[in-house]
Symmetry: C2
Subunit: 495 residues, 2 copies
């Protein structure tokens, strides 16, 4: 009996999912256990798997089956959703010629090398030619995709991270954000900084590690369906809802680093663990956007992990491991982990200034792609915007235009998703507090399960059945916006 169109697609989807899980493992290993001399072969391995994935998605029999399945009527909403997602993924993959994919991969490798050399020497000129090459290739890629309805080339790239999002919505949204964030930063930084002397000193790495495991268990991360390891840059990767890897990093003299890294990555990890396991072989078993994914990490890191109720519950546990903290009150600790300052480096920024770092990057990459800014003028444009938005000017390119790896990878359109994550997080957390009576009391008792249950139901278990903003709208009553975020920051820092 010949396969039906849907059977062909189901087989292709299962293989795509399996290959993407394999690819995730290779990346995880690369950052955790791979011996140094393994890196050459690792590039080949990842490229071979990604090539096989691309083939599964774009092979003529799959394209034909997709067209046939779309022509049939289906009463199954999951099937209809899978067809929509497959069409989206297929068309994007099919529009990019193999030569361009290879050229981008090469330019990325060259970009990272050039960026490292530039960063080490502080000489942006060593990175500029590679960035120009990447920019040209991304323009070519955007043109191959074609701008989405009502959009511009940047939108075609943005679509790869945040389907459905448009520059036309981000620009006014970000302008609004700037309009109230800048005065808020002004106000908060005018006050004397909170006391955090008790965070200076040595904090035993093994005790830090054990506390992060305690946190993973407390937030409900299932360590039978995942694990935590160490890496230089913390990250999370889901191979399958049953196999989710998170990492953290531990500095003996910076105890907050491991704690907030773990909470951040646990947020991503919880999302991956609660994706719809019944659809584990379907393209629907994934998050619909980077912004929604980031909302989960930000929610656990900031809305939960930097809240007073959380530290009412967890400071005593932390102090059991570090007796130097025994005299510190939750209120004092809470203020110390919420210190706001004008700083140069995004990854160290607090939750008030963070989005200003993102606006800066968004404006610059948009100008680059629109051809309104030349690569050679990027450092000066960076520094000027940093002064305007953050009130500080980098002394060295390493702390300025060369601080992030994203552009070295040619990632244009990615940065805005961090801010979308912050906005979605605030909206979802506000809705959870409305939806779960006594949520704050439970947090204060260290019981994080009611929150997880609400998020799993309203976000995680939906997978890619809906688009990100629709998930947020159904969960909160509103689509993308900054009202909940403004209310959250104003309540927390305004007084």
């Amino acid at each position: 009996m010949p396969e039906t169109a849907w059977e062909t697609l189901s087989r292709a989807m299962a293989e795509i999912r399996a290959l993407s899980g394999a690819s995730a493992l290779l990346q995880w290993d690369q950052e955790t256990y791979m011996p140094p001399k393994g890196s050459g072969a690792r590039g080949d391995q990842l490229a071979a798997i990604q090539g096989a994935q691309h083939e599964r998605l774009t092979a003529p029999p799959v394209a034909e089956a997709l067209a046939r399945a779309e022509a049939e009527r289906t009463a199954d909403p999951d099937r209809a959703a899978a067809l929509r997602v497959l069409r989206f993924d297929h068309d994007r993959a099919a529009r990019i010629p193999g030569d361009l994919v290879r050229a981008i991969a090469q330019a990325q490798a060259a970009g990272v090398d050039a960026w490292k050399a530039a960063r080490d020497t502080g000489d942006f000129g060593r990175f500029a030619p590679a960035l120009e090459r990447l920019l040209a290739l991304r323009r070519e890629q955007a043109s191959a995709y074609g701008a989405p309805a009502g959009g511009e080339p940047y939108d075609a790239l943005l679509e790869g991270y945040e389907p459905g999002m448009r520059v036309a919505r981000l620009e006014p949204l970000f302008a609004r954000l700037v309009s109230w964030l800048v005065p808020l930063v002004e106000k908060v930084t005018a006050r004397p900084p909170p006391d955090d002397a008790f965070l200076r000193g040595r904090f035993d790495p093994e005790q830090q590690w054990q506390f992060t495991l305690e946190l993973l268990d407390a937030v409900g991360f299932d360590r039978e369906a995942g694990r935590q390891d160490r890496s230089i840059h913390p990250f999370s990767l889901g191979l399958d809802p049953g196999d989710v890897r998170v990492t953290t990093r531990i500095f003996e003299d910076l105890p907050l680093s491991a704690i907030f890294s773990t909470l951040h990555e646990a947020g991503h990890g919880l999302y991956e663990q609660h994706l719809p396991a019944e659809l584990r072989r379907s393209v629907l078993c994934a998050a619909p956007s980077m912004g929604l994914h980031e909302s989960q990490s930000r929610l656990w890191e900031n809305l939960v992990g930097r809240s007073l109720p959380f530290w009412r519950a967890f400071l005593p546990r932390l102090a059991r491991r570090f007796p130097a903290l025994e005299g510190v009150s939750p209120e004092v600790f809470f203020r110390a982990v919420n210190r706001v300052e004008r700083s140069l480096v995004r990854v160290e920024a607090d939750e008030v200034t963070y989005n200003l770092h993102i606006v800066l990057r968004f404006e610059l990459e948009l100008a680059l792609l629109r051809g309104k800014l030349a690569v050679k003028d990027l450092p000066e444009a960076w520094d000027a915007r940093s002064e305007r938005l953050l009130g500080v000017r980098p002394a060295a390119a390493r702390d300025g235009v060369l601080q992030d790896i994203h552009w070295a990878w040619g990632e244009l359109g990615y940065f805005p998703t961090y801010t979308l994550g912050n906005l979605y997080a605030a909206s979802l957390f506000a809705a959870a507090r409305r939806g779960v009576p006594g949520l704050d009391d439970e947090l204060g008792k260290g019981n994080l399960r009611p929150l997880l249950g609400w998020l799993a139901e309203h976000v995680h278990r939906i997978g890619r059945r809906k688009e990100a903003e629709d998930i947020v709208r159904d969960a909160t009553g509103n689509g993308l916006g900054d009202r909940d975020f403004e209310a959250y920051l104003t309540e927390k820092y305004g007084a």
Copy 2:
């Protein structure tokens, strides 16, 4: 410009190698770090990668390019060797229909489940139907391959592990082995057992682990191009010459277990690290047979690791970690690690009795495949042969016919390669002693580099450019045989 046939093949080979490296990593992770709930998806991931490998090897453009490249003349011996190997691999892969591959994979999974249930209950009957199914599928597979020239169906399976080897050569060879091994066992076991009271007690696991790392460094295993981890069953896997994983296991009350596991797997690992890196994207960057691979693990485990010179050098280092061993002389320790006894379980057997365990399995699987033995009669046949060859009769199937997992995977033709490994190891070690003046003295000083250099030159760096027996013949002056092994055991245990 269109690709040449050789370019098409080179690209296919590079992808096959890369996918096989990826597959090795998935297997490594499965036995070391994978969380328990990851196992379902892992099966899908491995199947998807193996499917992609199969496709790369058998796709019509590759088959055509292979035929075209064969028709051209080449003066490059590496290219000629790669074409020979590709032809061998391609034909074997192309002859097996996809349905049979899937049926075997399913029967293997069912086989392992049934075997575990049978072993736990001691009831062979619970395994028999699954084994019958696997046997039928392997017969079908052998028939799809076609018996090699001058061979029988068993040879078609044997060929998958030991290309070029034939039952017609193994039968007389194994008969000769039995003819002198059985009397040797008789003679050695008639003596009182050596003193090994000092091996009883508790040996700190962390100190054991550190000693195994010391051993890895001493034998020349490059830990920048590989790593050791722990697993329940020790194994080794090469992703690339720059990325080789070995594992060991540590029992607090069995200090020899970790030591000899590490030496065994290091032998495999050294082979993988010294494969021809300049051919890392070619099918030639691999060992030509399982037997030759095993020769390297046996050589380091037994010929080196169970020798007196080795313990002259390493017992003082071991005693520094375990002061209880301080009064023990190298001679006494040497005798203790070479205790010979009639035992039931292959994986615990000493080097004298070990090959009798293999002969037993070879005879039985050959009889099964020839249709001379029914699965239901296997337990009785096992016990009778055990009595004849080893002089012991299992009290329970768990220590008899159900002890190995190999048949549960339907692996028929694999066991003989263990004995080939032992024979090749003895011949190669004898040749190394002839070829490297003062080798024993260097071993006695703990300098293992001259031996590794000889093996790398004469075995490892050849890869699949030649067949296993040709490599051994070129290195030693002789092909497969038991003379060197007999001389080694007779000298060591005869007196």
